[in-house]
């Protein structure tokens, strides 16, 4: 097996497992850059996965055919945004501990989505969806030698959506007035308030947008990888997205890069057995790699990662 064959095996698999991570990590970036810690990414992603699974299923029954997953994505975006509201209310308006509120959101997602699954389908899992996101070659680009084969043939369209949205989020956060406000309320809310920025409103918008992204991430996970929703469909991807966000230093493109890298580690633990050099490494090491790297990054061994200054602190007007 030569080097190129190995790449052809790993790279597409990495990109596939990275797409949901990228989107969820972007959700985390939006929320945390505005100063609201979001441990609830896992729950948001889980709820998005649940909504994605049932609406793809319903879409098939309503005769939407190949459009069903795309319809489910739209619903999942709305559902994710709505599901982030309790976290926003608790941590912004009611000044609850943001970590606790995020943990509660995870509990709520796990309870509610499985409760509803059992209620709707009488079983612990949703029916398998027929209309998955298909693989396909991108016209023109797939003809480029080497890169075309690696990145643009046999690829999921959702992966391109994820990468595209990473640039969109980067543009929003760094190139628009709203993005400047978002960052300023995350770094120094009082200064922002003094300049006439509505801290509360900006944070609400950011957290709710973050929820929409995480919801989409969950739905894409179902439509491209899992194929249905059970209690164990989302087990840790949300936290891995959180890790990607930190490893990417709270920057949308950094988060995307980290998510791709973690996707690589994930896919290596699955495809590793076919690769000569990696065959002898127990997959434990590849499984724990993303988490170990995140800790090292935080400790400053792999480029220091610093959180937005005001993240985790509720804003109280007039407080010194």
């Amino acid at each position: 097996m030569d080097f190129f064959q190995i790449l052809a095996l790993i790279v597409p698999a990495a990109i596939v497992s990275a797409a949901p991570l990228i989107l969820t990590a972007l959700g985390g970036v939006l929320s945390e850059r505005s100063g609201v810690v979001n441990i609830g990414l896992e729950g948001l992603m889980m709820f998005g996965a649940f909504i994605g699974a049932i609406f793809t299923h319903y879409g098939e029954q309503w005769g939407l055919g190949g459009g069903s997953p795309w319809m489910s994505f739209v619903v999942a975006i709305v559902a994710g945004a709505l599901f982030a509201v309790p976290h926003a209310v608790a941590s912004i308006s009611l000044k609850a501990d943001q970590v606790v509120s995020g943990v509660a959101l995870n509990f709520l997602a796990a309870g509610l989505s499985i409760f509803l699954t059992k209620k709707l389908f009488g079983a612990g899992q949703t029916p398998d969806i027929q209309e998955r996101i298909g693989k396909g070659d991108v016209p023109v680009l797939s003809k480029i030698p080497v890169i075309g084969d690696l990145l643009f043939s046999n690829a999921y369209s959702t992966s391109f959506v994820a990468v595209f949205l990473a640039f969109v989020v980067w543009y929003i956060i760094y190139k628009t007035p709203f993005g400047l406000r978002l960052r300023s309320v995350g770094e120094h809310p009082m200064a922002a308030d003094t300049m006439g920025i509505n801290v509360i409103k900006t944070r609400y918008i950011s957290v709710i947008m973050g929820g929409a992204f995480a919801g989409l991430g969950g739905a894409i996970y179902v439509a491209s990888i899992a194929g249905n929703f059970t209690g164990s469909t989302i087990s840790g991807q949300g936290f891995m997205a959180l890790a990607a966000m930190i490893f990417g230093k709270w920057h949308p493109l950094g988060a995307m890069g980290a998510a791709l890298f973690f996707g690589l580690a994930q896919s290596l633990s699955i495809t590793g057995e076919q690769i000569p050099l990696l065959k002898d490494i127990p997959d434990v090491y590849l499984l724990i790699l993303p988490y170990v790297l995140t800790i090292l990054a935080l400790a400053g061994f792999v480029g220091r990662a610093d959180a937005p200054k005001a993240s985790g602190q509720p804003y109280e007007k007039g407080k010194r």
């Binding site: 608790a90 009611l94 709520l108 309870g111 499985i114 936290f239 499984l287 988490y291 400790a299």
Partner: protein, 351 residues
């Protein structure tokens, strides 16, 4: 007067939160076409109905008490230990390892196995503590990452070195077991074991350390205000590491409840046990105090065990209890609202 008000308030928030949680749980059942009254009747029957259910409730509460103590102890020092889940897993593995591989009389073997679990948990907790003290890395993130490292590592170790048929380890030796035929007989052969004694002892230990020792005073001082503690000559870094070690030890002990008590072995876990995350809910509801935690753990243990009867007798999925617990956490965490309201009515009242 103010003191009584403060006390009352501390009890009021959890009680109101639990009632609100159950109320909204009832509304959710109504909306989804279940009968909330018969469901809650089944739930109560599932907790107290017979000796077996009661025994199972207490059994489920034992690790919850310990994981609640773990979260609370770190909280008192101003740290948020979300890593209880991972510390619990390494503690579980260490206790089972000692339980299988040593030949000792029970008086030595059992305490040794429990202490081994606690030590493993402490070690797992020290890492984030050290990173926090030395590099100012936020412990919430590191402990989450350590959870996954623990999950995959313990699975890897079992698979590589301790595997028995059925994706699990061998059974531990009788001399390391917490199981009690007497307690089982008393509760119509539930899986109740002596772990509840260990858990209550641990609650006493936490109370003693925090309130009756200089170390506890320092730990709490660091929790209130790191800068003031530093100024007063308290070694903040040392106390952070120490708090995470003790917190991890409680979490590791929670793991021994599963390893030496309920299961007598360790399985390869595809996902977390949930006991560690529930510990956050327990400590929050129990207001980080020993007595509160025991009561909260019994409540959540009861809800979990009772939900089984709720499903079989009233047809309501067990997950309803998960929703109720999530709502309770939201309400306790949002107590600012209640606090704010009461402050409006108390002139000059401070938070």
């Amino acid at each position: 007067m103010n003191l009584i008000k403060g006390r009352l308030f501390h009890i009021l928030v959890p009680v109101v939160s639990v009632l609100l949680g159950l109320l909204i749980g009832g509304i959710i059942m109504l909306v989804s076409n279940y009968n909330p009254i018969s469901a809650y009747a089944a739930l109560i029957d599932g907790i107290f109905g017979n000796g077996y259910n009661l025994g199972e409730t207490i059994r489920a509460a034992s690790p919850l008490i310990l994981s609640g103590l773990a979260v609370a102890f770190a909280f008192r020092t101003g740290l948020f230990n979300i890593g209880v889940e991972g510390q619990l897993l390494v503690g579980w593995l260490a206790s089972v390892y000692v339980g299988i591989h040593f030949d000792l009389p029970k008086v030595i073997h059992l305490p040794f196995a429990i202490l081994a679990g606690a030590a493993a948990g402490a070690l797992w907790g020290v890492i984030p503590g050290f990173l926090k003290a030395k590099f100012k890395v936020h412990e919430v993130i590191t402990t989450i990452m350590m959870n996954y490292i623990a999950l995959y590592t313990t699975n890897g170790i079992i698979r590589a070195y301790m595997l028995a048929p059925g994706e699990r380890t061998k059974d531990i030796k009788e001399t390391a077991s917490l199981a009690s035929p007497w307690l089982q007989q008393l509760t119509e052969f539930s899986r109740l074991h002596y772990g509840i004694v260990v858990a209550i002892l641990a609650a006493l230990i936490m109370w003693f350390i925090l309130w009756k020792t200089t170390t506890g005073y320092e730990l709490r001082a660091v929790g209130f205000n790191q800068h003031a503690s530093q100024y007063a000559g308290i070694n903040v870094s040392k106390n952070i590491v120490l708090a995470m070690a003790i917190s991890g030890a409680f979490a590791g002990a929670a793991g021994t409840m599963e390893g030496l008590g309920t299961y007598q072995y360790m399985t390869i876990n595809n996902a977390f046990t949930g006991v560690g995350f529930d510990g956050i809910a327990v400590s929050l509801l129990g207001a980080n105090g020993s007595v509160g935690i025991i009561i909260a753990a019994l409540l959540f243990g009861g809800l979990k065990i009772g939900s089984l009867t709720m499903q079989s007798a009233a047809g309501v999925p067990t997950e309803l209890v998960g929703i109720v617990i999530a709502l309770i956490i939201f309400f306790v965490a949002s107590s600012y609202l209640i606090r704010w309201l009461t402050n409006r009515f108390t002139k000059g009242g401070k938070i």
